[in-house]
Subunit: 436 residues, 2 copies
Amino acid sequence: MEMSCRNTSSDEAGRPTHPGTFPTSQSGNSGLVPAKGDVDFPVCVVLPAGGSGERTGLQTPKQFCLLLSRPLISYTIQTFERVSWIQSIVVVVAKENMDLMVDIIQRFHHTKVQVVPGGSTRHRSIRNGVLALGEQEEGSTAGRPKVVIIHDSVRPFVEEDFLYKITMAAREHGAAGAIRPLVSTVIATTSEGYLDHSLERAKYRASEMPQGFTYDVIHRAYQRCTEADFDFGTECLHLALQYCATKAKLIEGPPTLWKVTYKRDLAAAESIIKDTVSQWVCMITGGCGHARMLADALRKDFGSSEMELDVIPDLTGDNVRYLSKGWNFIHFSIHGSDLAEVEAMLEALEAADQTLLYPVVVIWVHLSTDGGASEPAAIVELASAAKRLNILLYAIHLQQSKDAKRWERSVSKVAEIISTLIRERSPSLAGQLLQA
Amino acid sequence: MEMSCRNTSSDEAGRPTHPGTFPTSQSGNSGLVPAKGDVDFPVCVVLPAGGSGERTGLQTPKQFCLLLSRPLISYTIQTFERVSWIQSIVVVVAKENMDLMVDIIQRFHHTKVQVVPGGSTRHRSIRNGVLALGEQEEGSTAGRPKVVIIHDSVRPFVEEDFLYKITMAAREHGAAGAIRPLVSTVIATTSEGYLDHSLERAKYRASEMPQGFTYDVIHRAYQRCTEADFDFGTECLHLALQYCATKAKLIEGPPTLWKVTYKRDLAAAESIIKDTVSQWVCMITGGCGHARMLADALRKDFGSSEMELDVIPDLTGDNVRYLSKGWNFIHFSIHGSDLAEVEAMLEALEAADQTLLYPVVVIWVHLSTDGGASEPAAIVELASAAKRLNILLYAIHLQQSKDAKRWERSVSKVAEIISTLIRERSPSLAGQLLQA
């Protein structure tokens, strides 16, 4: 029964071309990322985040739910912040969540972000965001952006190249929006709840986010639209059409633009984030020859996922670059004193200041020849200090054996445990000393 | 910063009212489950499962992807099998997957299932399934079902009460289908890729599965429809309308009817299954008073999830019922000899024959007063035997302490580890002896 679910190159989630980039680049959407100079006009973002989360069935609105200990909205903000040609991001939140939002911005060191209070409906909230962008220079248009991107706070996986396409199309056509093929057939119902007719799928699309507008178009649309539009409307592209006669250019986006709507979508989003932060694994061998066998076993285990392994002797010289790119680490050692090396590594990671946004996994593999214990109390203590830096430290005790079969089994067991620890990154198992 | 994502009663995934029921019952859809006698006519199911899985980006078609070591399609089959008034299920698969499908049916002891080869399109596959239902008695209509339910193999979470509604509506109206509100605005595009107009969301619905038809309607629709319908059509309700003048009754279904489409949906589905199989936890105290403190810590830890704890002294008398209902177990003990009790419990679980469809978690918590080790080699051996029965055995060593603060910390650490082990149920960590 062959049922393994290996990824192919057409995986929807794509993969980053370089560790530390996030979210993942989209295959099927791999237009060249533009040089920074290409966007030579001001672009700002409005991020309505006033949703109450009714559909998730959770007490916390979904934009504030934690994924790997960080609120979903922080991932979305990060997505825009890393784009050099985006000047500022206006996050619009319900009044009761203003403090929480400011807290998140401070805690995760977001820059470029301004928080403004929302209105009673989605359109009123977006209007507040647009107005905030125009208010920067009273009576002057100097500070106004040329293009405003409107996005959802609960669509964290939008790529720079797609934002570029939307931005350029918005400048050219006045308005632009992401679309996706319909997943289900759309049907019209009679007032009694019977099928009236089904729509021909090929002629229709789902309207998604992001959307882009010239400041003038979106500002004018909100000036001219009615209270009924503010009360019941949801589609900004429609307002641009109706009140500014601007026909939006529609651009097909990747499936990862989907909106986190239900509780299950939080699990799906976390899984995508885990896939991404687990991809890059660096093994430090300390020059030990036994590490090569483990590397081979790991590569075999990683084969069914998107994880990749680099093997280096130590973190000196050129290899210090591994500390600053979102890698996970396996520290292989044979001497009892080597926990000091792990400690030094944690300090180096702290100095590199790369663990604020994503937890880093460090696994100490201790090869023992004499069956001796591996300082469990010291590991617990070190793991506890590491956790405060958002580093998850685990230890594995690998017993050397002269029996070739047994040794092979142990090595492949270590590989299996390592894959699980990196992928699951459970905080509650940090500090454990596992056996192989 | 209060951002925990606690469930409220309106959680989309609902919760089973009894351990062992699966999938979860739907809140907001809590019509009484009918007495078995209510459906006094034959009902069969056609399950097209010919999809190639293009959209997941995986090499394996998604219906065969493993969730907790079992293919997705087996969950869907199980959903129908547990409904007493459903007589048989015809699974339609691509010719190249016939052997795999037969293998799955044997391995997971599915009954009621017939496998037939698919056609070149979805409609041709469904027709093959419908024809297979009619073929049971050549020249006679005696063996034919009154109502045929058509469902997707990649929508595993459909509930008996919803199937009942669809079935009864299909008998009354000739056809019935599940609908859901539109998640995105649907827009019509011009041939040049601009917005033409957006549809008024309230008037349209997404057509989902399951759908139900009287045998006569679906059979006639497929007899009369054209090759173009077979080639390009996707909507069975449309064929019933066009070729039998049957207006389908539309019934709003719960969000869990969603179709597993992308790789992220597999993570979402696994998360729902994990939530469900983790809900029921039974702690066996062996009469030890210290277990009460652990129970309190566990209840506190479970507070933020849907997990619930029953505490019993042992598995004798009435308590043997716990063995046959999909519970997870915590075996608390203070004597070194108690691994024998765990062994006896594994044997009892094997005898109860409840571990075929879902892995059961058993956690042995060993309270030690003298700091002595807890037979790690014996645990590894026992866990390895348990794994073959689909039981995941983990061990936790809890060091007793006279220092009240320290003891409290250890107990809450054990609770945290238990929650993680039950929820994650990682096979590669089975047999580990963890420390608290």
